[in-house]
Structures are given as C-alpha cells and as structure tokens.
C-alpha cells in the first residue's frame, strides 16, 4: 500500500523551496511579487493569499482534469482562479481594509500570476488531487519565502522597521550617524535584491548556473 506521505511527496514540497524555486529558477510569478515588498506585512498577506488561491485552484483543477475538454482548459483554469481571487479580495476588503488598500490592484493580479497558471498547466492537469495539492503548497511557499526575504531586507534597511515596529538597537545607530536608505523603498531595488538572492543561490549550487 502506498503511504500517505512518501519520499516523492516530500520532494514535491522541498524542490520548489530550493533548486526548483518558482521565482529564482523557473522565472514565474514575478509580476505581482515585487511591487508589494516594501513592507513585511504586505508580503505576508500576499503570501497567505497566494497559498490559499494556489492550493485550492490546484485541487479543484485536479478534480476536474478528466472532465475539461482540452481546447477550453485555459479559460476554465482562469475562471477557477479568478473566482478564488475575487473571494480573497472580498475577504481582505472586509477584514484587513488597510492591507487591501495598500495592495490595491496586486491582489487582482494574482489571477495572472504565472506560478499559478504554470503549475495548473504543468502539474495539476496530469496528477491526482493530493499530489497537486502538495505541489501547489510547495510552490506557494517557494514564492512566499522569496517575497518575505525581499520584504525583510527592504523594510529593515529602507525604513528601519520590521512589521511596522521600530527596532530597539537602531536608536544608537541613528546617533552614530546611520541613516535609513530611502533607495530601498523605491521599486527598482526589489529587482536588485532578488538579483542578489539569485547570485547567492547559484554561487552555492553550481549546477544552476546558466550558459551565457
């Protein structure tokens, strides 16, 4: 009897966190990711939203996979994802109005987040529900940790805070002449921070280096 959580299942979760990371290796889902990483809180909300949408969408598509005609599969996938995102959008508006305000159009843009479509197309259309769920979970976390890492760096160096709280030691640093780096808040720095994460990751694992 097959076990409920075997080696293969572990791999489905672990791979996207490292060597198959959606953002740094597969180049998926950057669109809606970078603009909202100026604050850690927004990154966390976004990650949770993506985890929810992705796992649900993958499971639903996986259940439907034998009933959807091949020609209209993209539209079916888009509609499933769009309904889930509309749900998240309404929930955020009701319970976290501030975060909803700041994320503005980017919650809506989860629909066109390439990670979701990519995994639905590449995995959920051909695999069973449990595997698809795990694959979606792994990829959503792989996306999430990059988002949180970038937001951590940008909020710490950009505004000297984390999750909106002042950091105790920073007062002494300010007296010594330390200044917050306003450049970190600006959009382009998100790209540079991700570039550096890619650099570190590939320097540690030479197999990932691309041909020029």
């Amino acid at each position: 009897m097959k076990s409920f959580f075997n080696k293969q299942h572990q791999k489905l979760i672990a791979d996207p966190l490292g060597d198959q990371n959606p953002i740094t290796i597969q180049v998926l889902g950057i669109c809606s990711a970078l603009a909202i990483t100026t604050q850690l809180e927004n990154a966390l909300v976004m990650t949770l939203a993506v985890i929810f949408v992705m796992t649900s969408a993958s499971s639903i598509i996986s259940i439907l996979r034998n009933h959807v005609p091949n020609r209209i599969r993209i539209i079916v996938q888009l509609l499933v994802v769009a309904s889930l995102v509309a749900l998240v959008d309404q929930i955020l508006k009701a319970f976290l109005p501030d975060a909803s305000e700041q994320l503005s159009v980017f919650i809506g843009l989860i629909i066109t987040n390439c990670i979701i479509m990519g995994r639905l197309e590449a995995f959920a259309m051909g695999n069973k529900v449990w595997e698809s769920f795990l694959d979606a979970l792994g990829n959503a976390f792989g996306y999430g940790w990059i988002l949180v890492a970038v937001a951590f760096v940008r909020e710490l160096f950009g505004s000297g805070k984390l999750l909106g709280y002042e950091i105790p030691g920073f007062n002494y640093l300010y007296e010594l002449g330390y200044m917050n780096n306003n450049l970190m808040i600006l959009p382009p720095m998100a790209l540079v921070v991700v570039g550096v994460i890619i650099w570190i990751q590939r320097a540690r694992n030479n197999d990932l280096i691309e041909e020029n």
């Binding site: 950057i30 970078l34 390439c114 600006l186 382009p188 790209l191 890619i198 650099w199 990932l208 041909e211």
Partner: protein, 204 residues
C-alpha cells in the same frame, strides 16, 4: 492636450515594467533577442489597445454601482463590482482568442511572427493590470482610457526591446558565473528602473 499627457505618463512615468513590475514573466523569458522582443512588444500594445476600451465600456455600463440604470429603475441600486475581476479576465482571454483568429485569417505572416506570443499574452499581468489601473484611476472618457492603454503598451514595448538589446550585447561581457542569465537581467532592470525614475514629477 490632456490625451498626450496621459499617453506620455503611461510611457515614461508610470511605466508598466519599471514602476509596477507588470508583465515581468514574459519580459524576462522572451527578451533574449531583439526580434522576438519586438514581436511580443507589438502584440502587447495591440492587445492592450483593444482590451482596455472594451473593459472600460463594461465597467461603466455594467459593473459600477448604478451603472445598470439603462435597464430600468429596478436596477439602479445594483453593484456588480464583485464580479469585475472575473469579467475582466474573461474579456481579456476572449479578446486574445479573437485577435488570434482574426490575425490568422487575414495576415498569416504576422500570425507566424506573433503566433506563439498571443496565447502567452492572456496571462500577461500587464494586460489585466491595464484594466485594473483603468478601473482604479477612473478615466472620464473612453478616449482617455484608450490613450492610457496605448501609452502603457508603448512603455512596455520600449522596456522589453531595450533589455533585449542589452542582453544581446552582454553576452560578450565577462559576467560572474552565478549571475549569468537571470541574475544580471534582474540587476540591469533595476538600474534601468532607477534611470526611468528621473521622469517622475515631470508635468507636461
């Protein structure tokens, strides 16, 4: 004058790539050579120029609170904004499909050069982003909305052709091995973004 203003703003100041990171996935994946970047860029301008006005009509005549008043007094209080995400993406994917069929029929040459990119565009964040920004900024006429859409499209086109040209040249440079390919492209895009920021605050 206002139309030109909106257009220029879309191209330089609110550039889809450098200010909002929309459409980054295809921007990074399809920018290896200038020729393909050119094709995708033109397709984006084209699709944005069609979908945003259509979504504008939809938004103002169906989705907004009270927009259904033309159906009779019973419908004055109806607010269908909840459905806007679903409607927009449905319009975008239907339009992309339609455009693909029309181009295939009337211009096979254009189809063979754009062909593979058109389906990609349905899930390009820049297109849906265009519709959502149009909704958020509330343009007063459909012509203004179209001008905004074309401006954003041209800005996206400019960005992808520029990065493709840089990537073609950078092949001859000695980039540190782990940064090759994706890493250096991110950093260059960041630097280009900083350059584009000097357009901020320009009033025309």
């Amino acid at each position: 004058m206002d139309l030109v203003n909106i257009f220029i703003k879309g191209v330089f100041i609110d550039n889809m790539i450098f200010a909002y990171f929309l459409g980054m996935c295809s921007y990074l994946a399809v920018s290896k050579t200038v020729t393909t970047a050119n094709g995708l860029g033109l397709a984006v301008i084209f699709v944005l120029g069609i979908t945003v006005p259509v979504n504008y009509i939809l938004e103002n005549n169906v989705l907004q609170a009270g927009a259904l008043h033309w159906l009779g007094d019973n419908f004055i209080d109806v607010d269908l904004n909840v459905l806007s995400l679903i409607m927009f993406i449905a319009v975008v994917s239907a339009m992309v499909q339609l455009v693909e069929m029309i181009i295939e029929k009337f211009s096979p040459a254009l189809y063979s050069s754009l062909g593979i990119f058109l389906p990609l565009i349905a899930v390009n964040c820049a297109i849906l982003g265009g519709a959502l920004f149009m909704q958020e900024r509330q343009y007063s006429t459909i012509i203004e909305a179209t001008s905004f859409a074309l401006g954003s499209g041209v800005g996206w086109y400019l960005a992808i052709v520029a990065i493709a040209a840089i990537r073609e040249k950078i092949r001859y440079s000695n980039v540190p091995a782990p940064l090759r390919g994706l890493g250096i492209t991110y950093i260059i895009t960041g630097l280009m973004g900083i350059a584009f920021m000097c357009f901020m605050g320009i009033k025309i």
